[in-house]
C-alpha cells in the first residue's frame, strides 16, 4: 500500500526534520504594575532573565490629560522603570509588541485607561492580569475586572507570582 503524504510525514522520525531556524524575532513586552502591591511582584519578576521585556512600576500623568481625555498624541504620561528612570509612556507603548498590566484585585486601576488609550492609538494588544491578595473577597476581583474589561483583549485572574512568570515565559518575553 502506498502511504499518503499525511501518513508519511506525521511520524516521530519525520518530526525530527522540522527545520531548526528561528521562526520569530524577539518581541518587546512591556509589563506595567498599576499599584503598589503589583509593583512589588513586578519588581521581583523583573530580576529574572528575560529577553528584552521591560518592567515598569508606576505611572504618572498630567492633570490635563487624564483618562478619557484628549487625543493620545498630546497625552503626557510617564512610567518609572526599576532603575528609577522616568520613561515616556507613549514611546514605550509605541515600541511594544504587547503590553501587560498587572493589578492587585480591588486596587485603583485608573491608569489602565490611560495605558489602554495609548495602546489603542498604536494598535497594541493589552493583556491585563488581576492578582488577588490572599483571601481577597470576590467583590474586589469584580471591581478590577469591571474596570479593566473595556480595555483588555485578555483578562486573567492570576493567583500569585508564579503564573505571571509562566505567562511571560510562554510569551517569550
Amino acid at each position: 500500500m502506498i502511504l499518503s503524504e499525511s501518513a508519511r510525514v506525521t511520524t516521530a522520525h519525520e518530526a525530527s526534520f522540522r527545520i531548526q531556524y528561528p521562526n520569530s524575532k524577539p518581541r518587546a513586552v512591556k509589563v506595567i504594575a498599576l499599584d503598589a502591591g503589583s509593583a512589588k511582584l513586578v519588581d521581583e519578576i523583573a530580576k529574572l532573565n528575560w529577553h528584552g521585556a521591560a518592567f515598569f512600576t508606576s505611572l504618572s500623568f498630567d492633570a490635563g490629560s487624564a483618562p478619557g481625555g484628549t487625543d493620545g498624541k498630546t497625552l503626557k504620561a510617564w512610567l518609572n522603570d526599576l532603575a528609577g528612570r522616568t520613561m515616556d509612556l507613549v514611546s514605550e507603548v509605541a515600541g511594544a509588541d504587547c503590553v501587560v498590566v498587572v493589578a492587585t484585585a480591588g486596587k485603583d486601576v485608573q491608569s489602565a485607561a490611560v495605558i489602554a488609550e495609548v495602546c489603542t492609538l498604536h494598535h497594541k494588544t493589552l493583556i491585563a492580569l488581576v492578582v488577588p491578595e490572599d483571601n481577597a473577597p470576590d467583590d474586589q476581583i469584580d471591581v478590577s475586572l469591571r474596570a479593566l474589561r473595556p480595555y483588555a483583549k485578555m483578562l486573567v485572574i492570576a493567583h500569585g507570582r508564579d503564573y505571571i512568570e509562566a505567562m511571560l515565559t510562554a510569551l517569550r518575553a
Binding site: 499525511s6 476581583i141 474589561r149
Partner: protein, 428 residues
C-alpha cells in the same frame, strides 16, 4: 512556549512519570459500554496511559481489566475464551478472573495451590453513563465515582462516541480550550451542521472573529470566557470549563444538546478523543441521534469496525481543496471533529512547544499547562492529590449568555455553570 523539559513533563504519561501519576489520580473513560455488550462476550484490548490491558465482562456480568498477557508464556489474552467466570488463555488453558487472579493451571494438580500464587495486575472497572471507567492509581486514594452531569442523566438523553487520535493527548486537549479557533476552522459548519445550526448565538460568532477573553480559575480547573459583541452594547459570552486533567465542555448553542470531551492518553503518541452529547432535561430526538451516529457535530464517521475516523491520515483526511477555496470548509476537511483532529495530528506525534509563538489570547492554554505542571509536581513532591477529583469539581456545565458589559461572567453566570439535575442548560 515551553522549555523542552516542561514539554516532556506535560506530554509523558507512562507508568512512573509525574503526569502519568496525575492521570492515575482520576477515573478515566476507556470503553463504551457496548464494547462489552453482554456476559461472556469477546474480550477487548485496551491500551491506556502506555499500559496494555484486556477488558472483559464475565459470566456473572462482573467487569475485569487486567494485564493483557498471560502469566504463563505471554500470549495475549485477547484470544482468550471468556467462559465460566474467567478468561482462559487458549494456549495451555490457564484461567484468570476479573481481578487478575489465576484460578486454574490445568497442568498442575488443583490441590497444589499453584494457581493461587499467580495473579495478573488488574484495575477496577466500573460502568456509568454508558461508559466503562477505570482507576489506575493507588487503592488508598481512589476517588468517588465520576459525577459528570452526563453520567447522571437517563441514557436516552446521552450519546457518547470515541475516536482514535494519532497524536499526544495535550495538543488535542489544548484545542478544546482554544475558543479562538472556532471562528476560523469551524466557520463553515456553524450554520450547516444539524447539531449547531439555527442557534441565535451563531451570528455573534460569525460576525465577530476577534473575541476578547477572560480566564478565571475555579477549584477544579478553569473557566475560559470568550466575549463577542451582541446588540445594544451587550456581550455574548461563551464559557468553556476545563477540569483537570482533560475534561472540557463546549458552550451550548440554542436548544441543541450540549457536548464536551475527554482526552485520554493511549500512549505518548496517541490518545482517545471522547465526545459526549447530552441534553440535561430531555431525551435526544431521533434525528439528533442519527446525526451523531452519522458523524455530525463533534462526532465522526469511522472506518467500519474500528474507532479510527474514516477520514484519517492515510487518505489525507479526504481533503477537498475545492470546498476550501469555495469557503464551504475553512481547511478543506469535512466535519468539526476531523477539522480539529487533522490539524492536531499534523503537529506531529508530540508537538514541539519550544518552537511555538503564543499570543495573549492563548492564556487559557498557558494557564492550563501551568496548573497541570503545578499539580503534577505537588503530587510527586508532596503527595498532594490534584484538583478535579471531587464531585463538586465535576458537576459543572458550559454556558452561553448575553450580559450587560459591567457584569463579570463568573458571577452573572455562576448558577449557569453548575450542573443542576432537571434544569436546562443556559444558552443562546
Amino acid at each position: 512556549m515551553l522549555k523542552k523539559e516542561q514539554n516532556e513533563l506535560v506530554t509523558q504519561t507512562g507508568p512512573g512519570t509525574p503526569m502519568g501519576d496525575l492521570f492515575r489520580s482520576y477515573w478515566q473513560p476507556i470503553l463504551i459500554s457496548s464494547e462489552l455488550p453482554e456476559n461472556d462476550c469477546p474480550p477487548v484490548r485496551v491500551k491506556v496511559l502506555s499500559e496494555r490491558l484486556v477488558a472483559f465482562r464475565d459470566s456473572e456480568g462482573k467487569l475485569g481489566l487486567i494485564d493483557e498477557f498471560c502469566a504463563h508464556r505471554g500470549v495475549s489474552l485477547w484470544f482468550g475464551r471468556n467462559e465460566e467466570c474467567g478468561l482462559r488463555c487458549p494456549y495451555h488453558g490457564w484461567k484468570f478472573d476479573t481481578t487478575g487472579q489465576c484460578v486454574e493451571v490445568p497442568s498442575e494438580p488443583a490441590e497444589s495451590g499453584y494457581a493461587a500464587k499467580i495473579k495478573l495486575k488488574s484495575y477496577p472497572l466500573i460502568e456509568k453513563g454508558g461508559i466503562l471507567w477505570t482507576y489506575m492509581g493507588p487503592a488508598e486514594s481512589q476517588p468517588t465515582l465520576p459525577e459528570w452531569e452526563f453520567t447522571n442523566v437517563p441514557l436516552e438523553n446521552i450519546f457518547v462516541s470515541k475516536r482514535l487520535q494519532e497524536n499526544n493527548w495535550l495538543q488535542a486537549m489544548e484545542g478544546g480550550i482554544d475558543s479562538s479557533h472556532v471562528s476560523f476552522l469551524h466557520r463553515g459548519d456553524l450554520n450547516n451542521d444539524p447539531l449547531f445550526k439555527g442557534a441565535a448565538g451563531n451570528k455573534y460568532n460569525l460576525a465577530d472573529s476577534k473575541p476578547v477573553f477572560e480566564v478565571v480559575e475555579h477549584p477544579g480547573g478553569l473557566y475560559i470566557g470568550a466575549r463577542r459583541n451582541a446588540e445594544d452594547g451587550k456581550y455574548y459570552w461563551r464559557i468553556t470549563p476545563w477540569v483537570m486533567p482533560s475534561f472540557t465542555m463546549v458552550p451550548p448553542r440554542g436548544d441543541h444538546p450540549i457536548h464536551g470531551h475527554f482526552w485520554v492518553p493511549i500512549d505518548d503518541e496517541s490518545c482517545t478523543a471522547w465526545s459526549f452529547d447530552y441534553h440535561p432535561v430531555r431525551p435526544l430526538h431521533a434525528e439528533e441521534r442519527i446525526a451523531m451516529q452519522n458523524g455530525k457535530g463533534i462526532h465522526v464517521k469511522y472506518v467500519p469496525g474500528t474507532f479510527r475516523p474514516l477520514a484519517n491520515k492515510d487518505n489525507d483526511y479526504l481533503i477537498d481543496r475545492e470546498a476550501q477555496k469555495a469557503g464551504r470548509t475553512f481547511s478543506g476537511v469535512e466535519g468539526i471533529g476531523m477539522q480539529d483532529a487533522s490539524l492536531q495530528e499534523s503537529m506531529g506525534p508530540i508537538c514541539d512547544r519550544t518552537k511555538e509563538n503564543l499570543v495573549g489570547t492563548d492564556n487559557g492554554i498557558i494557564m492550563a499547562r501551568h496548573r497541570l505542571m503545578r499539580a503534577a509536581k505537588a503530587l510527586r513532591e508532596k503527595g498532594t492529590l490534584p484538583p478535579g477529583r471531587e464531585s463538586e469539581h465535576q458537576k459543572i456545565r458550559s454556558a452561553a449568555v448575553i450580559l450587560p458589559p459591567d457584569q463579570p461572567y463568573k458571577d452573572a453566570a455562576r448558577e449557569a455553570l453548575i450542573a443542576k439535575p432537571g434544569t436546562p442548560q443556559t444558552t443562546v
